[in-house]
């Protein structure tokens, strides 16, 4: 117990130090699944999960659809240690993304030009996210589990917004007063706006598992920090004499402390936090027509005895037979 108190105190002190470093820390409480969804620490076990998602959202005139894939691999390297690698890709696109309308006006090659669109832009956004989380099972006995988590993460996003000129065309006129268009109408089309961004961050947290008979209480605290990030906005005029405009900005560093809790109905493996999140998401989406189809496959593999790192960490040198006792922590 003393060790547990020290560990929790160290985590909280670390969290406080982390937040002081950058000034602002947002915090929130959430009733949701805990950050470590597979709390197994059997050496040689690997949890693998592949999830495919198709999403379509219609809200008024706006319709966005897309899909993605998410891969998770979580090998347990020792009796107390595991790490998980997660990589996800998501693409969303819309042919009817609302714009401000109008477009751009300017002067090029002695010509005044003006473009406008019909208020509908094509949008395509891509996102890749990845994370590596190291998990340390600090305390494990039938009465309580304590898992500490730490690791980096990143997001990469890019996309393009393109005006839909096919219906309205582009107007260009000259100032010579001869009434003739001096440029082909297609030349001055605004090709589009390119957007890109990246963020690099890290998170550290603690997750407890306290069995309450047929329920399990899983409180957790995770401090997430966005350490570096940049967003770039580039406008491609598509007109050779009009330079493309580009601007970039660093994203401000931020910290977010998430305090959360889940209650798991053990006999069913049912996360009440997950149900609560579903209910809240449905409430938010009540005025939107959302189709979300998810298909996932979870499989578990075990390395044969002797190939897992168990033996190397056994202080007693007794191989797999003694490794369980050697690695176990108790209060």
């Amino acid at each position: 117990m003393k060790r547990l108190v020290i560990l929790i105190s160290a985590m909280l002190a670390g969290a406080a130090a982390f937040s002081d470093d950058t000034g602002g820390t947002n915090s929130n409480f959430q009733f949701s699944p805990p950050p470590c969804p597979y709390p197994f620490f059997t050496p040689g076990r690997t949890d693998n999960k592949a999830t495919g998602t198709y999403a379509s959202m219609k809200m008024g005139d706006l319709k966005i659809q897309g899909g993605g894939i998410d891969l998770l691999v979580r090998p347990v390297s020792r009796r107390d240690y595991a790490y998980s690698i997660q990589v996800g890709y998501m693409m969303m696109q819309s042919g009817d993304f609302p714009s401000m309308g109008g477009g751009a006006a300017g002067k090029a090659g002695g010509d005044n030009f003006m473009t406008w669109d019909n208020g509908k832009w094509d949008l395509q956004m891509n996102n890749i996210l990845g994370s590596l989380v190291g998990e340390y099972q600090a305390v494990h006995d039938p009465s309580i589990d304590v898992i500490l988590l730490v690791g980096p993460n990143f997001t990469l996003g890019w996309g393009e917004m393109t005006p839909d000129y096919t219906k309205t065309g582009v107007l260009i006129w000259d100032t010579n007063g001869d009434g003739k268009f001096s440029k082909p109408t297609s030349a001055a089309k605004l090709k589009g706006i390119e957007l890109s961004s990246y963020t690099v961050g890290a998170k550290a947290g603690i997750q407890l598992g306290v069995p309450l008979g047929p329920l399990e209480l899983a409180p957790f605290a995770v401090l997430g920090s966005m350490l570096s990030g940049r967003g770039t906005f580039k406008m491609n005029s598509g007109y050779e004499e009009i330079p493309s405009a580009s601007s970039s900005a660093d994203l401000p560093r931020s910290n977010n402390l998430s305090l959360g809790l889940d209650i798991i109905v053990t006999p069913w493996g049912l996360s009440l936090g997950s149900v609560f999140q579903q209910v809240m998401a449905k409430k938010k989406a009540d005025n939107a027509d959302i189709i979300l189809v998810t298909a996932g496959w979870h499989w578990v593999t075990h390395k044969p005895a002797g190939t897992a790192a168990t033996e190397g960490n056994d202080e007693n040198g007794g191989g797999a037979e003694k490794a369980g006792a050697a690695g176990r922590k108790s209060r």
Partner: protein
């Protein structure tokens, strides 16, 4: 925050505190037992489960997976499951439910192993309701010294996973996904594969 919201939160916290005081630290199922000075048996036989579930396939699968787990993951010497069944047939046992009618000593002689793994398979099921879909496997496992009948180790293992939906369409989608997954698992000869892995990892995690 308004008073109503704060009161609701306090009531929620109060409920959790009461729950923690009443059941705090009580694990789901019986606590594991390990005989002091436990040493790994030289050879074990995994006996057919005493099947309290509604699944015949589940009992056969759990016996095979348990034998594989002890052999591959734990590195134990395990008598082949086919040989165990042949040995049991010699003493007129064809089902795990008949095992309590005889002594571990006789069973050990019949299967040729000094230690026996008894499995009580309590749940092995898919429940697909759409709004709630549950896959679960639960078994109580004992390792017994065949010559003395002494219990060397016992623990309960379980594996359970749920998916839920909160709307009619969501229920249809979740139900279809659950049925599709169930069909794929059964077609692949590995029903409740992840839940059985979870059950075995939990059942044997306290084994030295």
């Amino acid at each position: 925050m308004n008073n109503k919201g704060r009161d609701g939160r306090f009531k929620g916290i109060g409920f959790l505190v009461l729950l923690a005081l009443a059941f705090g630290g009580c694990p789901y199922g019986p606590r594991p037992f390990i005989k002091p000075g436990f040493t790994r048996p030289k050879l074990v036989a995994v006996l057919p489960p005493d099947n309290h579930s509604n699944s015949m396939v589940g009992a056969v699968y759990v016996q095979r997976r348990t034998a594989e787990y002890l052999r591959k993951v734990r590195g134990w010497d395990v008598v082949d499951v086919v040989k165990v069944e042949e040995g049991l047939r010699k003493i007129a046992i064809t089902d795990g439910g008949q095992l309590p009618s005889t002594t571990p000593e006789k069973v050990g002689e019949a299967v040729g192993a000094p230690a026996l793994v008894y499995i009580e398979l309590n749940e092995f099921s898919y429940t697909t309701l759409g709004l709630l879909n549950v896959k679960k496997c639960r078994a109580f496992i004992r390792i017994v010294d065949a010559s003395s009948g002494e219990m060397l180790y016992s623990a309960e293992g379980y594996g359970a996973e749920s998916s839920t939906a909160v709307s009619g369409r969501g229920a249809a989608e979740a139900g279809a996904a659950a049925l599709g997954g169930q069909w794929l698992e059964k077609a692949g000869g590995a029903p409740l594969a992840v839940q059985v892995s979870d059950m075995l990892d939990r059942a044997f995690e306290w084994l030295p």
